[in-house]
């Protein structure tokens, strides 16, 4: 996004630096921590930058701090080589895919001072890379909204202490890994008191989309404002900006040309998404269903046995829960589950309607009979008047085998009780 404009008077180079926020944050941490701990006003920190180089592109991914020292005879300040090598070896062990590509430093100016040059020269002499780079961060300004105060210099690989070689200023750009994006975003937004953002997941998504759209709008408005000013003759014509703006509108037209393809693709994705979202929807439906069912059987139980007391519902709950598997069965295969879903729902549904009649509800009593045995007369009349239930003695076996709705699995003792009745 941001680019250098050769402020420090160095010749530009075609080297391009891609900087990960992690490096910037590490420099910031290094600086902030030492500033507080060492209580030094004009603090400068130095360190190594790790990354990858391919062709004329340097990717800066990680970093570590240097141990600085001053040569007593020459008064020349640089970093400790033994320390540097030990650290580099350690990082190579954990992150074998990246190596040291350069050094970083901080300061209160955009140019390099003598120590910076010394550090870069010392690093160049190690011959670790063909194009040693130095990343400088200006800690005095803190940057403005659009651009971080970063400067990238390319050193001379043949530099020596006597002849430091030429410096060239390179372009840089921020790049983000996905995990970096989430991490940085998390810190930027969520480090509030409780560490949480309020609102549902969807609200968050709406918010982040909205702020992204706002950014896009503000960018477009900027372009429009510039064009209007140029048209009115108030601003000089910058051909490059005009070209870029033109390119943008052409790209938009390309979108229009491919609109049908895009629409088809979109519709396809949309349909897939809808099918996928059936899973959570149906599952939550099942959950709600089970809740209602459980509550219903408690209510029913209480209506039947108003004197049963507080311990009663559990049994009723169990009795109902026995029927749940038919309702919640939801096999993993995407294609069949809807059909199976319907099938499996038929059972419980019928049962719930049936359950509304007091007759059936009494048939749930056998497993509970170990608590407060109902008056024998009630049970008898209830069973005989029930249109759907069979002979109470037959229920246990049938229930276990065929999952007859509303048929609990009575224990042996309760079966005996009912047959006694």
């Amino acid at each position: 996004m941001s680019q250098n404009k050769g402020e420090s008077g160095c010749v530009p180079t075609n080297l391009k630096a891609l900087i990960h926020p992690l490096v910037v944050m590490q420099i910031s941490e290094h600086f902030s921590r030492l500033r507080v701990q060492e209580k030094v006003q004009d603090l400068r920190v130095y360190g190594a930058v790790l990354g990858r180089q391919s062709g004329r592109t340097v990717e800066m991914i990680n970093s570590f701090a240097f141990k600085m020292y001053t040569d007593e005879t020459t008064g020349r300040e640089s970093f400790n080589l033994a320390h540097f090598e030990a650290r580099a070896r350690q990082y190579a062990e954990v992150f074998p895919e990246i190596s040291v590509v350069g050094v970083y430093c901080t300061g209160s100016e955009a140019e390099l001072i003598e120590v910076d040059r010394n550090v870069l020269t010392t690093f160049s002499q190690l011959k670790a890379t063909d194009s040693p780079v130095l990343l400088k961060m200006n800690t005095a300004t803190g940057g403005n909204d659009r651009r971080l105060p970063l400067y990238v210099f390319e050193g001379d690989s043949s530099a020596t202490e006597e002849k430091p070689g030429n410096l060239a200023i390179a372009e840089w750009q921020l790049i983000l890994e996905n995990s970096e994006r989430v991490g940085v975003n998390h810190i930027a937004k969520l480090s509030t008191k409780d560490g949480q953002e309020t609102g549902s997941a969807n609200a968050k998504q709406y918010r982040s989309q909205k702020s992204a759209i706002d950014m896009l709008v503000s960018r477009i408005e900027l372009i429009l404002a510039y064009l209007a000013e140029v048209e009115a003759g108030r601003l000089p014509i910058d051909l490059e900006i005009l070209r870029e703006a033109n390119l943008l509108t052409q790209r938009l037209r390309m979108m229009v040309r491919h609109a049908t393809e895009y629409k088809n693709e979109f519709d396809k994705e949309e349909k897939e998404l809808t099918i996928y979202s059936l899973l959570p929807k149906i599952t939550s439906l099942m959950g709600a269903y089970a809740q209602v069912g459980a509550k219903l059987s408690i209510a029913r139980y209480e209506a039947t046995y108003p004197t049963a007391g507080i311990s009663a519902p559990r049994g009723a709950y169990n009795a109902f829960a026995k029927q749940l598997p038919r309702m919640v069965a939801f096999p993993g295969t995407e294609d069949d589950d809807e059909e199976e879903e319907e099938e499996s729902e038929r059972g419980p549904r019928r049962k719930i309607h049936a359950a509304d009649s007091p007759a059936i509800s009494s048939s749930t009593t056998p497993p509970l009979s170990d608590r407060t045995p109902p008056p024998a007369l009630d049970l008898l009349s209830a069973t005989s008047s029930s249109p759907t239930s069979e002979d109470p003695t037959a229920i246990p076996a049938a229930a276990a085998a065929t999952d007859v709705p509303d048929a609990p699995m009575p224990s042996a003792s309760s079966a005996a009780t009912s047959s006694d009745v």
Partner: protein, 354 residues
């Protein structure tokens, strides 16, 4: 942007004066390190008397970023590292983290000795750099199965709490982090052996895959989780503000549907498996109340997946509204010269809608 300013609770008067004269905000005083105080508290060992002594972990921006990126880099392998920081009353302040050359699963106790040499070299180097913070804990990743301590984690943590106190364990789930767009992180300390925790309220529900549930259930009473907050320096805040300016691009150009496809698929598979396990339970077991509770949990999982899908749908629609002008609205009938204008109008409408 509000920031939790985790400043030392017992800042001395000269220190405060110094802060004022140097115009260092209280935000940055979190980096203050007082050798004497740290040694005193390490000698006093208040955590020996109270198993619940540490209640909070405060993590610096850079430590969090390093841990998340390291965890993500490990992919489906567990990675681990150590954290440096200091003690501040009942909290541990994590200032930095570094990775250890250990990968894989279920090898952690052994890894500890393997990593020990690496650690001692690393911290020796830190001493020479004038970095004062001690190692106060470890982190590792649980790719895809949530933040909790497994049996092996519990023994590792217990061992360390015996010999390396103060010590805290942080767990990060890189896959859930990516899918939720929010760092999934937990901090834990174990109870001493034989300690029975008072009946604390159950921690917030989190989804745990079926094949890990046993491991979770057996050990979940042996540790407690600490509250986590994050802090950043003044300069970090400035940098982050600037960095945000580049995020909108990726927010608009990426779709959670594609970047997290595998994770979402796995979650669905897990839900299906849990449901069939529940079915078996209902058919065979006596305790169906448990089954109902299990069902509720599955429903919570399903709702999370639903939210993620919904988030993906939102971004798809936003993209369409922004860039497919032909089908997204009546704007297409405007002449192409005003493309920019039309788009921005469209955008404002959208922004207002939301």
């Amino acid at each position: 942007m509000e920031v939790d300013n985790a400043r030392p609770t017992t800042a001395s008067v000269p220190q405060r004066n110094w802060e004022m004269s140097n115009q260092i905000t209280t935000l940055d005083s979190v980096y203050e390190y007082n050798d004497v105080m740290q040694n005193e508290i390490r000698q006093a060992k208040p955590w020996d008397k109270d198993p619940h002594y540490f209640k909070q972990v405060k993590v610096s921006a850079i430590a969090l970023l390093k841990m998340v990126m390291h965890a993500k880099r490990g992919g489906n392998l567990e990675v681990m590292g150590l954290m440096q920081g200091r003690i501040d009353a009942n909290s541990l302040i994590i200032l930095d983290a570094f990775a250890l050359p250990v990968e894989g699963t279920e090898t952690r106790v052994n890894a500890q000795s393997q990593a020990y040499e690496y650690m001692s070299i690393y911290t020796d180097l830190c001493d020479t750099e004038n970095r004062k913070e001690k190692v106060v804990g470890w982190y590792h990743s649980h790719p895809g199965y949530g933040c909790w301590l497994s049996g092996i984690d519990v023994s590792t943590q217990t061992l360390n709490q015996k010999y390396q106190e103060p010590w805290v364990a942080i767990v990060i789930d890189p896959l859930r982090t990516m899918s939720a767009g929010k760092v999934d992180i937990g901090a834990f300390r174990t109870y001493p052996e034989g300690y029975r925790p008072p009946n604390d309220s159950p921690s917030e529900y989190q989804s745990i895959p079926l094949n890990k549930i046993e491991d979770f259930g057996v050990h979940c009473k042996r540790y407690y989780s600490l509250e986590i907050s994050f802090f950043k320096s003044e300069m970090d805040a400035q940098i982050l503000k600037t960095l945000w300016k580049t995020y909108w691009l990726s927010t608009l150009s990426t779709s959670p549907l594609f970047s997290n496809a595998e994770f979402i698929n796995n979650q669905m598979k897990d839900i299906a498996q849990k449901l069939s396990a529940l079915e078996r339970k209902f058919l065979t077991a006596e305790k169906n109340v448990d089954g109902l509770e299990g069902l509720e949990k599955v429903v919570t999982d399903a709702e999370t997946v639903g939210d993620e899908l919904e988030a993906a749908r939102i971004s798809q629609f936003v993209k369409r509204a922004l860039f497919d002008r032909k089908h997204a609205g009546a704007i297409c009938c405007k002449p192409p010269q005003s493309a920019d204008e039309a788009m921005s109008e469209d955008l404002t409408e959208d922004a207002e809608m939301h």
